[in-house]
Amino acid sequence: MLYREAGQFITDYRADKSIFRLKQERWGFYLLLTIAFLFVPFIGNDYWFSAILIPFLVLSLAGLGLNLLTGYAGQLSLGSAAFMAVGAFAAYNFHLRIEGLPFLVSFLLGGFTAAIVGILFGLPSLRIKGFYLLVSTLAAQFFVLWVFTNFSWFSNNNSSGVITAPQLIILDHDFSTPVGRYLLTLGIVVVLGFLAKSIVRSELGRNWMAVRDMDTAAAVIGISIPKTKLLAFGISSFFLGIAGSLWAFTYLGTVEPHGFDLTRSFQILFIIIIGGMGSILGNFLGAAFIVLLPILLSNISMNLLAGAIDPGQLENFQKIIFGALIIFFLIKEPNGLAKVWQTFKQRSRVWPLRF
């Protein structure tokens, strides 16, 4: 009753194929975008932008990238952070070495570089499957970080290995303020979110899902496995690369290899487990969860328990809670928060009846 679809007739193919078929979903989405673009910049403070909203958006984008590969194409990866690092360092170097290259173009080039590296490390997937493939993505994880730490050319021969990202000036407009960085990130994430949604709804997305569900069967019905898998690695790494450059340029403001270690890869994997594998919305829910939970936990221990738990212990408890939540989600809701949202919609559709 609360979530009605009665009376909404679809009369042409275009409407049938649209992303949001129901009026309330469409308007809800527009409302969300309006709030995010027009209201949040005025009501948020710097803490919210720098510590919550920007990492949330960047991690959502990274989750999106991994979800295309793992959730849609079924190739497990533990090297997401490496591709983020490639994107960040490539964007930095393109910006540094080509005079006057617009920022957005260097982000894009960073993404493409990450895509090439992703395809390279995806090549073994043509021959090996399942858990054996972990070795390839972990090789990427360790090798890429080693390259960026050991060859100082990539960090412009900076002795500390940590480089300050240049000022974000796009079209003579300075985006270096927290609000500016937020808006820039938001814009890029929205555009790429649409791109991802369109990809998974296209033929390519269907092929990915076929390969995920059973690649032998997919090959039998004529899907080119090498092309599909390599495109999955390439496109996923493109998204991760852009997320990496945003992480370095708009969130941290520094470019350094250590922010992209294995822990980050795990974090992104947790985002898609908690948010929902094979769902675009899930990445945003999962990222919000991952960003907010530690803040919530430390607030609880600060305010309710009056700092009775010391910070080192708190970190351990955080780990335990994260681990338990992962297992809880895998047991109770394997399709993640995105599925919870769907169930909620279904429930409110038939409310007050149960079925």
Binding site: G130, V135, M214, P334
Partner: protein
């Protein structure tokens, strides 16, 4: 040339240490098809528990037995609260569950026992001595002997005892094993318990070598390429893989490292494992997968 052999033998013996961790993986993968990422944290947890007991004045063997009992309780809890609920799920789901498990165990270990580095002395000196003009560590030889005994005992258990044979049945086909009356839950408990025991042994040896600290849980990342070269289902493969990784890693570090910059031991095993896989997609001793639609 004798330097080459010294590096090679040192590497081979280091490889045995990797194999010890990899064996824990193989046991669980064979019996339940679970790729257990938590093996590293089990190593950390058992070593930390053992050394903390030791520091509180508990005698060596008593703390060994107490730790073993704790690992058994852990195995029971994992079976009861995680595996049993995830029966018949995809291998990737189970893998991710063990990832969550590793977070819980690591957090628990450090919350209970603290995060400082403990020194562990298990009564074997680490002094080098000379054989055939090569300097070898007594400790490494001891570790190799332990690994040898462990493999012999495990292979005996797997091929001769009733439990071992049912374990192999479960590994072969879970449904068929259930149908002939094998109790899956009990077997999983046993195999996780044995993996905990292997983890404890590995933890003691590694802990005596590098000190008991958080980085112990990271040896899971060293064991992974070992496992992949050897194949997930073969205990012998884990040993051979360990030897290959250990020796080539040391050789590469010594002879290749100076040319391309140091610190290559982090990624070199993975690249090596990748090359191996391109030739043999399921490891040297792994079972060939047959696919049906």
């Amino acid at each position: 040339m004798s330097f080459f052999f010294e590096v090679l033998t040192g590497g081979l013996l280091a490889g045995v240490m990797y194999s010890l961790v990899a064996i824990g993986f193989v046991l669980i993968y064979k019996a339940s098809g679970v790729f257990n990422f938590a093996q590293g944290s089990m190593v950390l947890f058992s070593a930390l528990t053992f050394v903390s007991l030791l520091e509180r004045g508990v005698p060596f063997w008593v703390s060994f037995i107490i730790t073993l009992l704790i690992m058994l309780v852990l195995a029971w809890a994992i079976e009861r609260f995680v595996l049993r609920k995830l029966v018949n799920r995809s291998p990737i789901t189970l893998f991710m569950a063990t990832l969550g498990l590793s977070y819980i165990i690591e957090g628990l270990a450090q919350a209970v026992w603290g995060a400082q580095v403990h020194a562990l002395d298990i009564g074997v000196s680490d002094e080098p001595f000379e054989i055939f003009g090569m300097l070898l560590s007594q400790f490494d030889l001891f570790a190799a002997a332990i690994a040898g005994v462990l493999v012999a005992v495990l292979s005996f258990l797997f091929s001769k005892t009733r439990t071992g044979i049912s374990l192999r049945a479960v590994a072969d086909d879970q449904l068929a094993a259930l149908a002939v009356g094998i109790k899956l839950n009990r077997l999983w408990f046993i195999v996780w318990g044995v993996a905990g025991f292997v983890g404890l042994v590995a933890g003691l040896l590694w802990g005596a070598r590098v000190g008991v600290q958080f980085s112990l849980s990271l040896i899971v990342l060293k064991a992974l390429p070992v496992l992949i070269i050897g194949g997930f289902t073969s205990i012998g493969g884990a040993i051979v893989g360990g030897l290959i990784i250990g020796s080539s890693e040391k050789l590469a570090e010594v002879f290749l490292g100076p040319y391309i910059g140091g610190g290559i031991e982090n990624w070199f095993p993975y690249v090596l494992a990748m090359l191996f896989l391109l030739v043999r997609p399921s490891g040297i001793f792994g079972e060939r997968a047959i696919e049906r639609v």
